[in-house]
Amino acid sequence: MSPFRRPSAEPLWRDEFSVFSDDERYVSRRQFAKFLVLASLGMFVGNLWILVRSWFTRQPVYPTIIIARADEIPVGGVKVFAYPRPNDQCILVRTATAEYVAYSQKCTHLSCAVFYSAQHGRLECPCHNGAFSVHDGSVLQGPPPRALPRVVLERRGDQLLAVGMHIQAEGQRG
């Protein structure tokens, strides 16, 4: 017996066996085209959502805060601090005697916390083996699409201050 019902003038209830399972799964061209147009609407709504977000997202305010004493961290050492908001974890690395760099600790791939690998001299993400240059935050390997946002540092005497953030849009590979 065919799983499709043959066109007939007889009402369905008069059929000997009135359940046609394939009829229920059958998708006509017109239905499929409708699904595609609905998917297109979804994409458009997504783009509109980004547009609305871009209109209503305010520029973040970056306070100036003391994050560490200069001699507090040894060369190759790190310190984790929060900037600009209490929940935004950042990592400060002392790469040389008088050289400090700081980046957001959130991996640009899926927001795992990156750590400094002194062995490889780079910032690494343990989740998907992403790696960032410790010198400029650019992507060295793995799935991260963008460089790490860099914390702008200032040294005043013995103190290191965070004064802003620089979001690096280029996802260039090192």
């Binding site: 499929f32 997504g46 699409p145």
Partner: protein, 80 residues
């Protein structure tokens, strides 16, 4: 009679298939546009959001146009 109708129906089906293929291509462009816009937005660039939304809207309008075309062809072929 039914045989004479067949080439017409086949022509209609070809037109419908072509329109659907075009909708699929437009949808792929729209998916790419959305991911790229989201990527640039998350990277801190907001300038791309407006042109991307406009282009996405135009593509959506084109998809609706193609869908209406499919419906019209379908109805015409069924009526003949």
């Amino acid at each position: 009679m039914a045989e004479a109708r067949q080439p017409e129906q086949r022509k209609g089906l070809t037109a419908i298939d072509a329109a659907m293929a075009l909708i699929v291509v437009l949808l792929l462009v729209q998916i790419w546009l959305l991911t790229t816009t989201l990527e640039t937005f998350l990277a801190g660039y907001k300038e791309t959001a407006l042109p991307a939304a406009i282009v996405s809207g135009l593509i959506f309008a084109a998809c609706i146009g193609l869908y209406l075309f499919i419906e019209r062809i379908d109805v015409e072929r069924r009526q003949r």
